[in-house]
């Protein structure tokens, strides 16, 4: 019987010819990623080795990545001490895929992994971060795990008890209209499937609109697949995957690119015509509370955030800069910009995007997870409303349970910064130069 991309990948990883949905496998891990919560992983890892008489060595330091992004530079003595503990561990274990608080190689884990070529098609990737689903954009079976699970991976080099998931095939045809982006597509899909509709399943993305989409856009889709509960979002690798890994990530080794079987069996197929989409907004307090922008346009917002592992890439910043160039962030609304990595930060500096954004009144912050989860910078005041290109709008998410978060694309965020209210970028009437 034909296999889906996930079935085929997991079978291959385990050296099998078949993997049926529901089979329980223990695939070897190609890459194991953690961020600051590596401090907890180290704690659990040490506990595994306690009393065994064995030296606590990770199974393979080349397959472990540690990236500081959640609270950089450290916001508290506690974080700084955890980061110090991780640095010492990295040195002791000989881990080289380590990205410290640095303006050259630093950034948010879900951008650092792709841009450094750490993720390849066919890989099994685990990360102690739920948005590890992102890396399915490069054809990896990639998913989030808890810290103790990661400690087990560091010890054994494989991930225990992975059930081969059922697959929801998502076919996206048509061309995106002006002002509509991959973010609108994934919000629309999550609204349709609901927040738990893909729990224990994966999305597999197909169709002309996906084939024509850049890796940056595919990362948005896979990043947010977890918001429908999906274990992973997957884009079977194609020419764009090869191009990105070769040209942008500097990968020289041959890639193992394959697709699902033509007679693969899917749990469900969802067809979307991209040309019929309009900008989408996820309203408080669940990501599946999605409405077309016409239903919420005019809602006043006090803080706008552009950036994060979802929408902090160069194309996102440039879309925002094009809209904001020669215009002004309206008084009473603040705009915070968080590029996804320092490489992107420097590229956006070179292209002039950051200068245009700052000249319009945006605050350019350093790459990091910052306000997305309310741990570092950009907290909301009581009863304030935020509009963000990030991935979650749960109650309390941006540091305050008495505030609201709406989610949108970078274009909607930029247009709304000019008016101070949720604004469809296609209807923006403030002329450029009208400062």
């Amino acid at each position: 019987m034909g296999m889906t991309y996930a079935q085929k990948l997991l079978a291959k990883a385990c050296g099998r010819t078949q993997a049926a949905v529901g089979d329980v496998l223990e695939p070897p891990v190609s890459l194991a990623m953690s961020h600051e919560n590596g401090a907890l992983v180290i704690n659990q890892f040490d506990e595994i080795f306690q009393g065994t008489g064995r030296e606590a060595k990770v199974w393979n330091p080349e397959r472990i990545a540690l990236i500081f992004d959640h609270r950089v530079p450290a916001e508290s003595a506690k974080t700084a001490t955890n980061q110090k503990k991780i640095r010492e561990f990295v040195a002791k274990q000989g881990i080289r895929k380590f990205h410290d608080v640095r303006g050259d190689v630093g950034g948010v884990c879900h951008q650092i992994l792709p841009e450094n070529g750490y993720v390849r098609p066919g890989y099994v990737v685990v990360g102690t971060d739920s948005h590890t689903t992102s890396h399915g954009a490069l054809g990896a079976f990639s998913f989030g795990v808890g810290a103790t699970e990661m400690a087990s991976v560091w010890t054994l080099g494989r991930i225990l008890n992975v059930e081969v998931p059922g697959t929801i095939k998502v076919v996206v045809d048509g061309k995106f209209p002006e002002g509509v982006y991959p973010k609108d597509l994934i919000l629309h899909l999550i609204g349709k499937v609901t927040s738990e509709g893909a729990n224990f399943k994966v999305f597999e993305f197909h169709g002309a609109a996906i084939r024509a989409m850049s890796t940056s856009g595919r990362l948005v889709l896979c990043n947010m697949s977890v918001e429908a509960g999906a274990t992973s979002g997957l884009v079977p690798p194609d020419e764009e995957t090869r191009r990105y890994l070769k040209e942008e990530a500097g990968v020289r080794e041959p890639l193992d690119c394959f697709g699902p079987d033509s007679d693969a069996v899917y749990d469900q197929t969802i067809t979307i015509d991209a040309s019929r989409l309009e900008p989408q907004i996820a309203c408080p307090h669940t990501v599946d509370n999605v409405k077309p922008i016409s239903a919420v346009a005019g809602k006043k917002v006090q803080q706008i955030v552009i950036g994060s592992c979802t929408n902090g890439r160069l194309d996102d910043l440039e879309i925002a800069a094009r809209i904001l160039k020669g215009r002004r962030v309206v008084d009473g609304t603040r705009l915070l910009v968080f590029p996804a990595s320092w490489r992107i930060y420097r590229e956006a500096m070179k292209s002039g995007a950051l200068a245009d954004l700052a000249a319009a009144g945006a605050v350019i912050c350093n790459p990091g997870c910052g306000p997305c989860l309310g741990v570092h910078q950009g907290a909301l005041g009581d009863k304030e409303v935020a509009l963000a290109t990030t991935n979650r709008n749960f109650k309390g998410r941006m540091g305050n349970p008495n505030a609201e978060v709406y989610l949108c694309s970078p274009a909607v965020a930029a247009a709304s910064a000019i008016t101070g209210a949720i604004t469809d970028p296609r209807t923006l009437t403030v002329p450029q130069g009208a400062r």
């Binding site: 329980v24 600051e36 919560n37 401090a39 907890l40 704690n43 659990q44 506990e47 595994i48 080795f49 065994t52 064995r54 959640h70 609270r71 916001e75 508290s76 506690k78 974080t79 955890n82 102690t128 971060d129 739920s130 590890t132 989030g144 795990v145 808890g146 810290a147 103790t148 699970e149 400690a151 087990s152 010890t155 054994l156 225990l160 008890n161 059930e163 927040s195 738990e196 729990n199 224990f200 509960g229 274990t231 669940t286 989860l373 309310g374 741990v375 907290a379 979650r392 749960f394 109650k395 309390g396 998410r397 540091g399 349970p401």
Partner: protein, 165 residues
Amino acid sequence: MAKGKVVLALGDDISTDIIYPGRFMATVLPKETPQFAFVDNAEFNRRLKAKEIPAGSVIAAGKNFGCGSSREQAVSCLKGYDLAVVAKGIARIFLQSAINLGLNIVICPEVEAAAGDELEIAEGKVRNLTSGKSFAITPLPKARQAIIDAGGLIPYTRDLLLARR
């Protein structure tokens, strides 16, 4: 068989941001996380810290409990008080971490339970002793039972490590 009173009855989509807000994520150790369990629910958090809630008490929830962030603090903070969770559905990462840490977690798609109800968690079903109704439990994935039987993923992994030459 375990009995416990429902001390908190919640709806659908209770995220890990509600169970353990992101702003306390710098605290990681299981012995330190319980102080922040449901911290934005000030009264419940106070009762937990004042030890007014006995071990074995139950959090009843709707669908998709534990959705969102993979932060394990959201599991360890509940485990610290030895609470049980009975939910209509549980998000994947939370479910796996609960098994790994030995948090008593029960998937019970039809469960009806209000705060104050007395529940009995028995083989295959949850009995609401207050309403007299019984609800079927969805068994955990089979392969997970070995981890539970071993007392959690740490001893389970330790055994695998020791079995290796």
